[in-house]
């Protein structure tokens, strides 16, 4: 699989899928009008990657998002969480600005539902 970069749009995040380094990064504003359509390509990349790989690191640094996108993010995390082997080898780096309890709690909600390993990482200036 090749590295895939989806550039940020006015209301969509930048996505970097890096199979060689076993990482996926999603950053920026995430309020697409149709989140399901926007995430479709990412779901397909994940499915293809997980056919041959058993671990993945997420770097998630969101500015703000809509509820449909949170559902899509949950779907993305669940692709990892449903397989005990992949789950054990994977982690989510949930990047937050200093003092942002709101975004931290959003990560904690995902963590509670998926039981994935979440690291709460301070954003670099």
């Amino acid at each position: 699989m090749n590295k895939t970069v989806i550039e940020a749009g006015h209301n969509t995040p930048e996505v970097i899928f890096d199979p060689e380094n076993k990482k996926i990064s999603i950053s920026g504003i995430c309020t697409p009008e149709n989140p399901r359509m926007y995430f479709k390509q990412i779901f397909m990349l994940m499915d293809e990657y997980l056919k041959e790989n058993k671990n993945l690191s997420f770097n998630i640094h969101l500015n703000y998002y809509n509820s449909g996108s949170t559902k899509c993010l949950l779907h993305l995390f669940m692709k990892i969480a449903v397989d005990p082997v992949i789950k054990a080898g994977s982690e989510v780096n949930w990047i937050i600005d200093e003092g942002d309890l709101e975004l931290k709690e959003s990560g904690q909600l995902f963590e509670e539902i998926t039981n994935l390993k979440f690291n709460y990482v301070p954003a670099k200036d």
Partner: protein, 191 residues
Amino acid sequence: MNHNSPTQQILEQLSRTENLREYLVLVYGRISQEMIISAISLTENKLKLENFHQAAITRTKIISAELLQNMLKHQIFNEKCLPYFILGFTDKSLRIITGNLLLKTTCDTLTHRIDKYKRIGKDQLRSYYIETFRNTELSPEGNAGLGILDIVFRAGQQVNYRITPFNDEICAMELNIMIHNKVTARQPQQS
């Protein structure tokens, strides 16, 4: 919501019912996706200038995005009653006030949901939110039906509304949402 109301009338009406110290953002007129992004960017900059806590800023942005996208999705254009989005603050909290026209059927659905979510005990709301979030499926259009629940949850149930009939099929809905500046985490229930 005041019919045929230019911005000044809206603000005058608000000043009679709300104890807002200052208005930060006022959007009036037809909603577009580009306008939503600009409004939220302006909101963020204004709140930073006023030294609001980062958590309150993020909460306000997420609620605003949800509100404005809902207004766009259900938008009914009529020059006599244009949609508005107002962000102001009192000494202790932020206040978001939106007004727009809706089909009565949509309005009934929204008010039913708001009333239902507000009736849930504060201690149970978090687990209710998680269960709903976990079990809801996205429609082909990408709707999860979580928008109003997300707003009520993040605002700590401080969501009020006012409905004014516009004609037989349409009504005007004003939402009034309070966000505390000192955001505290809603910790999981202790079992």
